[in-house]
Subunit: 340 residues, 2 copies
């Protein structure tokens, strides 16, 4: 059973091992960052990478009183969102006090002794007494590869529905493996605890002689950033294009609760769908309290292969403290169905 | 187009029209209760009926400092829940300060002049300066009946998928109509704004020459009572039995967020399923903040006709502020799948 996980992607730049430069991928690395912050509260933190790790650390360091700069080499944060939805989030992050530099890449570090002093980008030099590298992870497939076990183009260990590798009698599960994406029908590597847990359960049952199947994933992910809930599932526009699927999208703004109910927050819902057959392809949510977990309706509909037309009449829960009479998900589906 | 709504069920008891005795079914009746409470804060309110209206009014009157007694003739509140789930809710209502009398029925009122003074039950006499009758509603199908338009055994106007009545050219929508229950395949009348809205949209499109279909409902409903979120969908055990379906159920207790995350509240999930083919039949949730809207996953799965085995691997959203790695819905599905 191979459960070798994934490791943070790190550029080979002098200074990457300096004191004050961290990754956040294990419980130990989290404890180390917290101990460092508790010991000497950093004045200026620079976060490299605008994904989950960068965003979550931005929130927590701002709450601890640190000045935070986030550097991201692409034109947007959260590359699993479409640019328009990521733009809504970027605006809120900036309002919350984060200095956000997009389309800017890390060039190097300047040290004093073995301690970090500045981060050098292609645009400027940023003083830093704490740096966190959040450039994503890569499956630890080396052991499998050396053993002659097939590894996919994604870099993850290939497994069948039962989580068995290409070498009979050898199973794999978790962040080191590929999963089948149920919408694109292509293999993907998505390093999330939910998927790893489900895969581990299936592998364990089968190793013990049972019969379990892990059918695949739809790419659901969530993150909380300050007061904003961000969630996505299925294919974003770029992924739909890469999968060669016809796609169209709609985006709506609504409220998390009945408009007159206290605490009715904003919610933006974007839906990507196939305009030829109406099939839902994916969805994205950026909103306030109660917004994010609505992604589960879209995830479940993706598993079931539903069309946006079918989804209009989903009998979703309503009561003024929880939703408008038309749930925001349904409002988006209505708009989408009008374009099929 | 018949959109005549529904009217509160009221027993024919002397004193039912006394000053201080209210129903809550229209905006006007809500305004009237609020004006009365603002004018002379009631000391002792008696609520008749332990459904949504009774529970929501209990919360709001307690928050206004009124002593609240709730009288329900059946052995449980919320008859759309199974007794065990309703029991969890009853416990919380009592903790919040409501005096709850179950298996007790209204016998009459005592007035002073034209004002309510006491509520008489088969067990005791309760002083009351405010009484709210929450005994459910009945479709206003009289107009249709008099016109010779078919009315179902449920008391609601019969309509087809396009919301047309049995009289060609006459449509009906909202609380006066029947809906097809997609799990039991039987007609039901459920007086909820979500259903009325969806039906109205379909009727409107069709009256204007379009082609829209309202396939039916799965019986989703939610209510907030104090800090508790209550939700249900599909068939409860009694309904599964009435529909002649084999059923079994599981009940789990989990947390709304990762256990270590601040604000992780309790959530109880019950799932009713068909042990012969694994099909989900219904679900019920009683829990704290973030619990209730999880019902939407079950509602969507019911629309799609999913089995509990298929649901185990639903790729639902996870991040510690929103869910444990195994969402409580999935934990319940795992338990259920073990019994198929």
């Amino acid at each position: 059973m191979i459960a070798s996980g994934a490791s943070p992607v790190l550029p080979k730049i002098p200074g990457i091992n300096a004191r004050g430069v961290y990754t956040l991928s294990t419980l130990q690395s989290g404890i180390a960052i917290r101990a460092a912050v508790d010991h000497t509260p950093p004045r200026q933190a620079v976060l490299i990478g605008g994904g989950y790790i960068g965003l979550e650390m931005a929130e927590n360091l701002i709450l601890r009183g640190t000045q935070v700069t986030l550097v991201e080499k692409t034109p947007q944060v959260m590359n699993t969102l479409d640019p328009d939805m990521a733009g809504l989030l970027a605006e809120e992050i900036r309002k919350a006090g984060v200095t956000l530099y997009l389309e800017e890449s890390l060039q190097g570090f300047e040290l004093q002794g073995d301690e970090i002093r500045t981060v050098v980008t292609d645009r400027r030099t940023l003083p830093a007494d704490l740096v966190i590298m959040g450039l994503g992870v890569r499956p630890n497939a080396g052991l499998a590869r050396e053993a002659g076990i097939p590894v996919g183009e994604t870099g993850g260990v290939k497994v069948n529905e039962g989580m068995e590798t290409g070498m009979p009698g050898v199973w794999a599960a978790g962040n080191c493996t590929e999963s089948l994406h149920l919408v694109s029908r292509r293999p993907v590597t998505i390093a999330l605890g939910t998927i790893a847990n489900k895969q581990g359960r299936v592998a364990g049952i089968n190793i013990a002689g049972g019969q379990a199947v892990f059918p695949g994933v739809v790419g659901t992910a969530m993150v909380k950033v300050f007061d904003w809930e961000v969630a996505r599932t299925g294919l974003q526009e770029r992924e739909a294009e890469e999968a060669g699927l016809p796609f169209r999208s709609v985006k709506i703004e609504a409220r998390t609760r009945a408009g007159y109910y206290p605490g009715a927050g904003k919610i933006h819902v974007k839906i990507v769908f196939n305009p030829e057959n109406g099939r839902l392809l994916g969805g994205q949510i950026v909103g306030q309290e109660g917004a994010g977990k609505r992604i589960d309706v879209l995830a479940t509909a993706l598993h079931a292969g539903m069309t946006v037309e079918e989804m209009i009449n989903l009998d979703l829960g309503y009561s003024p403290p929880f939703s408008p009479a038309w749930d925001p998900i349904l409002i988006a589906c209505r708009q989408a169905a009008g374009q099929v």
